[in-house]
Symmetry: C2
Subunit: 251 residues, 2 copies
Amino acid sequence: MSEQEKIVTACLIIIGNEILSGRTQDANLGFLGRRLNEEGVRLAEVRVLPDSMEVLVPAVQEVSRRFDYVFTTGGIGPTHDDITVDCIAAAFEVPVIEHPEARRILEEYYGDGLTPARLRMARAPSGASLVPNPVSGAPGLRIENVYIFAGVPRIMQAQFDAIAHELSGGAPLLSESIAVSLPESVVAGGLAEIQLQHGNVEIGSYPFQKGGRFGTTLVVRSVDGQALRAASEDIVALVTALGGDLDSSVA
Amino acid sequence: MSEQEKIVTACLIIIGNEILSGRTQDANLGFLGRRLNEEGVRLAEVRVLPDSMEVLVPAVQEVSRRFDYVFTTGGIGPTHDDITVDCIAAAFEVPVIEHPEARRILEEYYGDGLTPARLRMARAPSGASLVPNPVSGAPGLRIENVYIFAGVPRIMQAQFDAIAHELSGGAPLLSESIAVSLPESVVAGGLAEIQLQHGNVEIGSYPFQKGGRFGTTLVVRSVDGQALRAASEDIVALVTALGGDLDSSVA
């Protein structure tokens, strides 16, 4: 694997009891997985963790060492249960300060409505830089390789778009999806052989059911476009030999 | 906190590159979070991990020590990328065997259609017991405190329902949601005080936007029903004093 093909990795930490309790469905993982890949960064792990300093501090310390980038979502609002800034400051062993530029942004955004609660959103780990929030004022933060984003998807997405150019990605992972009208177990044997023959692609197999019939979506992934095409061609040949159809109606 | 109120915890490991890449949205977290709570078990952490033995083995070892129960979803089908059984066997340092009862179930379910690929689904870590799969034959597994479930939500849910009675839960976490017509920052100060006064409840604050107006859902959680009601009453009094409405149209 050449220098240019090194894999750059990221970890997402989704912070919030409301996700763990099943009350709220996370909507950030999918967006981040797709957008990171476009930037050549592989989302390699996601953790959903409670609003607990005891849990968050060691987790942030661990993943910020293991991955090139860490993103957190949630826990940065004006209420007592918003403890992300405190946890990340503790993880990097720096104090929490009031960030002067964040305060200025909040003053401009809220005017006379800048209550003490809202001013909490100017708090930052010492040494952090700001991530613009074009949606609702209160900025995100970056310290070392950790980006602190809002949990609200619209805000989080705007924050990601604002910093995407900062990321140093590797080669983006290319992928091709092939939906076939055969159950997984029928393609399994041939597929395992194709995987063995194409070491530099990763072949995933995902069953689906549609109108009472079982089918399989085969996803081929690689940083090497030529290798991707070669493996995909072998898969199409396998499916045809097995009497299956390529079901182009399933993306 | 009395003996009966000890907190029983669980960790969910969602296995699959397709979730990390953003191709597929997980639909098991919410179900498991809600159902575990009904059984008195707190979903305390979720990890989404790739189809990689190198990653999964140490993760399973870590979380099976840290939590009372571990659930895995995904990676138990008939194809080469289904490596969950191998990873969990390796985590517990036991061999993978063909489970005789699992084989019998597959023989009955598939009849003459039991291909070598499908027979892979009879593989189990040595010492594992079976979890019934009323939907599609291939059983789930349990070894020590780890339950191995399918990734397909309908199957996973049936498997959970089949084993729910085995779980030894603590007191279920009760909760009350109060939707108010005030932005988070307006309730923040009073809410922090209420949280301080009610140490045995956990108050979460979740902003929402509806028809262009900002509101907040306040969620009070406790294993103690009386404490829950007392805190909820204080919150209702706070909202009323601040001139807010209780928005009963938001669950």
